[in-house]
Amino acid sequence: MTSTSTPFARNQWYVAAYAHEIGRELLGRTILGEPVVLYRTEDDHTPVALADRCVHRRFPLSESRLDGDRIVCGYHGFTYDTTGTCVSVPGQKRVPRTARVASYPLVEQDALIWIWIGDPALADPQTIPRARHLADPAWTTVTGMEPIDGDYGLLVDNLMDLSHETYLHGGCIGTPEVAETPITTEVDEDAGIVRVSRHMDDAACPPFYARSTGIDGRITRWQDIEYFAPCLYLLHSRIAPVGVLPEADGTDPNAFHTEITYAITPSSEGKVYDFWAVSRDFATDDAEVTAFLRDFNHEVVMQDVNALNLLQRTLDTEPDGYQELSINIDTGALAARRILARLAEEGAKPVEAVR
């Protein structure tokens, strides 16, 4: 790996999966370099996350089977309960005291399964950022997840600077106005939040919104990003015919709102899970719009995936210490990088030194 590698920030919550992905089938994911197996208990459907390596010979538990709420290792039958304690080994009554795998704090919230990577004693569910629209019946959501063979910092960089829509996603979601419109950037240092806003007063309507909203003229297009480092990224998108603004009382009945959610979960080094979701408050029962947005957004995400895979392969061939050049569009991405570096540093400190 080259010098572009972004350090992992431990002692943080990450999205391990969509809630609907976890069930009675064992699911293996690698998060911040830690292999994890996920499933739900039989009776109350509580999600469980354990280290995905049998203590015996390191066989992946995710390639094993469930017996009730216990995982039976698919190699020699070492059996683990939901706390990760080994309760049975083959051929003998005595189970070695050290026979246990780590269990991870989990929180199911907003249709997401959040996992705490770090010292379990520090896990505070109150610090998980919210994405309420994902589970709100007033919104209709399509989701997906694409693994990227790239440093997670590349995905953060990509999402914090939407001017790339004009070039990488031209003809889908990008129009000339995106790259041409100045941004404002706000960094809440202690909360670890970066906000980037781009408000276009008079812009072409890209096909993504023209076909989903039915607007055929020019639009007022607002993009308001909130990045809750390290994992959750929200793009609050507002589309309306040119000149249509929110009412004086703050309501906004004549605009189309889309919440674009990303969870950026580092996997092993140089790999990242790209969880994406598009939620809308219009045509919520229209199956055709749902199918269109799912397919079209998948296409957009794959443009990013292919570009970031290529970028990582390219960076891997660059000599150490290569130079970059940042311009105004990068103001928010630079802020995000700095906050990630701080979080990584804090997460690497001994427990007593963490705030």
Partner: protein, 52 residues
């Protein structure tokens, strides 16, 4: 859509429309104009140095 509170230590950078200039405001109220985001962040994060 989120409950993200603002803690108070907020940096703001506006890209001035019609120009290539960035206008930054530190959480202490100091202001600065630059043409380069790297230079802007260097100034911002040097607080309180040069923020009188």
């Amino acid at each position: 859509m989120t409950g993200g509170d603002t803690s108070g230590k907020v940096y703001r950078i506006h890209w001035l429309p019609g120009t290539d200039r960035l206008h930054g405001t530190c959480h202490c109220g100091a202001e600065h104009t630059a043409q380069d985001p790297v230079e802007m962040w260097d100034w911002m994060l040097s607080h309180p140095e040069g923020h009188q």
